[in-house]
Amino acid sequence: MSQSYNRGLIEDFGRWREFSAGMWAWVFHKFTGWVLVGYLFTHIAVLSTAIPASQGDAAAGADVYTTTIVALESLLVVRILEVGLLAVAVFHILNGLRLLLVDLGIGLESQDKSFYASLILTGAITVASVPTFLAGVF
């Protein structure tokens, strides 16, 4: 016989103290997803400077696309935001792989461990990439 179960609004963030590892994985996945989709729109907007740049006869290196990217990359805050973007993307990728495996029924018993592994690996990759992302800004 089926038993009814009122789960409440599971997306109620006011219950964060009760969250398990799986719930934190869900929250982080949503947060990183929002950041990535927001960045996608910003990214295309910045890259759109290639449209007028391609139409002009500006000398190489002096077009609006190149100067926009170079100017942004000269700012320390942009480099730091890029490291943050990498962290967000890496976590979303690793946790996304974990979710795909869970959807396929693989590793259901160790999904909390795979979440912690995603976090640790994200931290390690992010820290290791800091020198690359900050190169040339100082």
Partner: protein, 124 residues
């Protein structure tokens, strides 16, 4: 029998497409980051370098597919998140069509940009 708790529509194809695009994006997003931050560095970007990459048909095709899948995955993800938060009725419809319109704008602008790099004529 267990109850159906999911807020996704039963039998919906969007659920499957969210997973298919995820599997594709895992690989291509990692490639994109690796190529444009570790092989090439972002501060060394020039219009000529971007143009030379995009003039290669395989790279251009991959980036167009990347744009389409990322737009679908991102916008559908936002829609799912809002539905999970309890969005229903007229508000749900309004959000849905706003997101569809935003996606179209993003896709058009993305294709225009890619075409500008590749040297293709854009008719919009």
């Amino acid at each position: 029998m267990a109850e159906h708790y999911s807020s996704f529509t039963k039998g919906g194809r969007l659920w499957l497409w969210q997973r298919i695009t995820a599997a594709f994006l895992v690989v291509v997003l990692a490639f994109h980051f690796f190529l444009l931050h570790f092989v090439h560095h972002a501060d060394e970007v020039t219009l000529a370098m971007s143009q030379s990459r995009m003039e290669t048909l395989s790279y251009y095709s991959l980036m167009i597919l990347f744009l389409v899948t990322a737009t679908f995955h991102g916008v559908n993800g936002v829609y799912n998140a809002l539905v999970n938060q309890g969005l229903t009725g007229t508000k749900r419809q309004a959000v849905k069509w706003t997101l569809v319109a935003a996606s179209v704008v993003l896709l058009v602008q993305g294709v225009r940009t890619a075409n500008a790099w590749a040297g293709y004529t854009t008719f919009f």
